[in-house]
Symmetry: C2
Subunit: 340 residues, 2 copies
């Protein structure tokens, strides 16, 4: 079934059918009715490739997982963002196409694949550093939106959560609970996110007039559980411990708790702990883990709207920062204190 057959059946020209399909105003109500009926009956759906070829617009958004490591369909945080993004883009009339990293590795770069598929825009999901292939895309005329990735192109924007504010909420909470000796467990030094959280943490501690003890700032090789365990072992061996610790991810926090338990230390009685991300496991651990939740749905929905506006030339990009929320559970020791 194609537009020509529909035209024949309705006894009109192909142009007329096309106009009706695209809601042009200058068609008589009578012909419109007749044609619509036939379209209904036949279940006709125009060929996307022909339409794209003729218009250069595909109604397709390219999805790129930029970080080579650990960021794919198995990453809960980005996935939740993507989920909200997908839903919103669907409402706006777009479908998503996922570029296989494998194809990328064996030749084509992201930009040429965007051209290849005539995508109307791209969402780039990362959290870590920029590869050259991403920069090329960023600098191109294809609208791009970064998630936790600061794009700078003229046709680019990004959404992110405020990593400084995350840390400042943690410090404030610790402060109100009476903790003055604060430690930190971060990821590797080339993680922007970990660095931002650490910088914000330091700044907030100083803001409250507390002292920084550098011995209480330790780092793992990544954001995962074993790194948290190892980091905490280091802390334990290096002498007196802080009263409260902020870990840059929930998994780091859980690893640290495992190490503390092995040494007979109690959480939160001996050391309070706050993680970051609010992964599912937080609710089921002992103690349950106090953490910072980023509003993933909001990040996804905002990304969708910003991209849509760029595609339709209603904006030249920009950025949006979403506010984090503290989720209080047991590990911070709130229930042990009077906050009144």
């Amino acid at each position: 079934m194609n537009i020509k057959k529909i035209a024949e059946m309705a006894g009109v020209s192909v142009s007329t059918v096309s106009k009706i399909m695209n809601n042009y105003p200058d068609v008589s109500e009578k012909t419109k009715q007749r044609v619509m009926e036939i379209i209904e009956q036949t279940g006709y759906s125009p060929s996307n490739s022909a339409k794209t070829l003729a218009t250069k617009k595909s109604s397709l958004i390219g999805v790129i997982f930029a970080g080579e490591l650990n960021v794919d369909f198995t990453h809960p945080f980005f996935l939740a963002v993507l989920n909200a993004f997908k839903k919103q883009m669907g409402v706006l009339g777009y479908d998503l196409i996922f570029f296989s990293n494998e194809k990328f590795l064996s030749g084509g770069d992201y930009y040429s694949r965007c051209v290849h598929f005539h995508v109307d825009g791209c969402v780039i999901i990362s959290g870590e550093h920029m590869e050259p292939a991403i920069q090329e895309l960023d600098m191109s005329s294809i609208p791009c939106i970064g998630v936790d990735l600061e794009l700078k192109g003229k046709k680019s924007g990004y959404v992110t959560s405020d990593n400084y504010q995350i840390s400042s909420k943690v410090v404030e909470h610790f402060y109100l609970l009476g903790y003055r000796e604060l430690g930190f467990i971060g990821s590797t030094a080339n993680s922007d996110i970990s660095n931002q959280r650490e910088a914000g943490y330091v700044k907030a501690i100083e803001g409250f007039g507390m002292n920084i003890n550098e011995n209480w700032f330790v780092h793992g090789d990544d954001f995962f559980e074993p790194s948290g365990y190892d980091a905490m072992q280091k802390l334990i061996q290096s002498g007196p411990l802080p009263k409260a610790i902020f870990a840059a991810s929930d998994l780091l926090a859980l690893g640290a708790i495992r190490a503390l338990k092995e040494h007979g230390l109690r959480i939160p009685e001996d050391i309070a702990m706050i993680g970051c991300d609010d992964i599912e496991a937080c609710k089921y651990t002992t103690p349950t883990l106090t953490t910072i939740r980023q509003n993933k749905e909001r990040l996804g929905i905002l990304a969708a709207h910003m991209l849509y506006d760029m595609i339709n030339n209603q904006s030249e990009g920009g950025s949006f920062v979403v506010e984090p929320a503290l989720i209080v559970r047991e590990s911070c020791g709130s229930h042990l204190h009077d906050q009144g």
Copy 2:
């Protein structure tokens, strides 16, 4: 940049360039070299829409989340399967397109969207019952592969894990540890998966010559944690408890454990527990949760290969069942027993 310009630059015809792009043999090595060089320099990538229009093949696989409820980007099990599927399809030269459910709701069905995008095949992800829109696709000439969904069309196949075998592994393990009084926590009665696991469980118990106590078989409204908690409350109130329980999901198991703890019962000393799915949280709970892992990577890779073969007419569909594995942790009480 398009094929015509490349042809001009190389001083050959468009046909020749096309043949070179598609690895036709009947081109002289000399012209091939010249053209390839120009393609390299210009970074030319053929337009997908033009190619699709001409060939009716898109190198695109449609991804459909069939179950309305709880099965989307936030579902860890299906996502892990999809992740492996995506990687494998990438290697085979395909990209993935995700159909927005929203568009679906407001008009088009899955079949016509497949036609619209000329997808070469579809993967349908579900686990629960069949909607009519899925059946239409299943019965069409478009190759489809179901994940935990039994498709029956002539051009359809599916992969699944053996829910009966899952249960039989659990029973065997309980049996070897000396437990003879076995309970079960399932999901709602219209979940095929839960029903299969329960049927397999009953069958295996009888196979080992043990008795079934129907009072020890309880059900929640879904696979989530609160359902497990409620189901266990029912069990506790209804009288003497079994020595070991198999829950149809890890979250059900965790909910059940929470209820048991509230009643001062110890796991596994008073009641042993085995869950199902091997979600991330299993490693971080107290006690850590013994569970059944389904080989998600293998499911995804198999689905990709089966779909590929159907697309290329090397197979007419079929099905494949992946074997589950028991992951022993603390909650089953293995460490308390001599299995010697």
